[in-house]
């Protein structure tokens, strides 16, 4: 058991010069050991890593700007309408119905899935959220491609996406900053980055024509 004063000195909370002689010796031994460990190995993996990185398609991160713009323009937008005067209710409901018409391939009203594709429905309960979107292995964990909707303002956010059949990992991003593993997913996998965090797991089965929701998280 080390004298607490030595720990305090090692944590920078006490002047080592104030330590008794025996503790000063221990302090010097430990700090000397650390100095010996501070040497940087004389190797580099930079060339090897960059060679491997260059083999990875750029689309892992980047998308064609024109395509992104087109997708942004065609994407349904969630609109928050504050209804104060009661007489605006009908007008606002009509406006919201027009603005939220599903039109993109990644929301409700998705086109029929092709071969080896299925439709995944994402549902989450996030009362008070301003936005909820889904990021996952199917969209390279990129935000801005799959937004959920809460048409009824009841905190239930949902949306559909046509995805390749197979296994996908995903997370919800709430209000653009809070990453949440789908509490209803039922299946989870370690996110691979340690620290015990998990991604939700989704298995998409090929749809059978006529198209029908074939997968649930």
């Amino acid at each position: 058991m080390i004298d607490p004063r030595l720990h305090e000195a090692l944590d920078g909370e006490r002047d080592p010069a104030e330590l008794p002689a025996d503790l000063r010796e221990s302090y010097a031994r430990l700090t000397g050991a650390v100095q010996l460990l501070e040497g940087t190995p004389p190797v580099s993996v930079a060339t090897r890593v960059m060679a491997e990185v260059r083999q990875i398609p750029a689309r892992v991160h980047a998308d064609n700007p024109a395509r992104r713009l087109g997708r942004w323009l065609s994407r349904p937008r969630a609109v928050t309408v504050r209804l104060r005067p009661v007489w605006t209710l009908a007008l606002a409901a009509g406006l919201a119905a027009i603005l939220l018409l599903p039109s993109g391939p990644e929301n409700g009203g998705a086109p029929p899935p092709g071969d080896r594709q299925g439709v995944a429905r994402f549902v989450g309960h996030f009362p008070g959220a301003r936005s909820v979107e889904v990021v996952g292995s199917f969209n390279d964990w990129s935000r801005g491609t799959l937004h959920l909707r809460d048409d009824n303002h009841d905190g239930i956010w949902d949306g559909d996406a046509v995805l390749p059949a197979g296994q996908h990992e995903y997370m919800f991003v709430v209000d653009g900053e809070r990453w949440v593993a789908d509490p209803l997913a039922g299946r989870y996998v370690d996110d691979g980055f340690g620290a015990g965090q998990e991604n939700a797991l989704l298995i998409v089965r090929p749809a059978v024509l006529p198209p029908s929701p074939a997968a649930q998280p």
């Binding site: 031994r29 050991a33 993996v45």
Partner: protein, 195 residues
């Protein structure tokens, strides 16, 4: 142990070079070559950390290379680029743990290497050559349990705060403090036994 951290816990760069956040944005925007900036910035510390964890520089180089490629592939998944350093150390720590878990029996770790022989009557730390001192300290470090070794290296060799260590390891701060304390005690006892 007042060594400065090998890099700030936050991506604040004031010497005119782009911050981590800026570099991450460039890479995510399609400029893959910009990832080289991050490699140059963090490679030395990651290699040092992995070497101390694995006790083998070749295995450490593999772990760091795999971690950096993995980081590149999943950069969009980095939830807080301001704390990129913690994220990279977390990935590397995870790779090291995986490596240790599946370490082949014919791997030779530093803890298996016999300590350097001391000449008769020369059993004092001061007379050891620097190389012998390094070997002794590495051996003492390698003898620590994995979690305590990690905590000690992150705290004292990489100069991290307990908050950043918590972000790297996922462990709570009181737990980390306890691991560092235990590691200090074990390391001190081992060093005193060697010399």
């Amino acid at each position: 142990m007042t060594n400065p951290p090998a890099g700030g816990s936050l991506s604040v760069v004031t010497d005119g070079t782009p911050s981590d956040v800026e570099v991450v944005a460039r890479v995510l925007g399609g400029d893959g070559e910009a990832f080289g900036i991050l490699i140059r910035r963090y490679e030395p510390g990651l290699l040092r950390f992995a070497t101390r964890m694995l006790g083998n520089s070749d295995a450490a180089a593999d772990a760091v290379a795999e971690s950096l490629v993995r980081a590149y592939r999943h950069l969009a998944q980095c939830r807080d680029p301001v704390r990129l350093r913690s994220w990279l150390y977390r990935i590397t720590g995870n790779r090291c743990r995986s490596h240790l878990a599946r370490r082949h029996t014919n791997d030779v770790s530093l803890s298996d290497v016999p300590p350097p022989a001391l000449a008769d009557g020369s059993d004092t730390w001061a007379v050891l050559e620097r190389g012998e001192q390094v070997a002794l300290v590495e051996r003492a470090l390698a003898a620590l349990p994995e979690e305590k070794r990690e905590a000690f290296v992150l705290k004292h060799v990489e100069g991290m705060s307990y908050e950043e260590m918590s972000a790297v390891t996922g462990a709570r701060i009181p737990t980390l403090k306890m691991r560092v304390h235990r590691a200090r005690e074990a390391l001190l006892a081992a060093l005193e036994a060697f010399v």
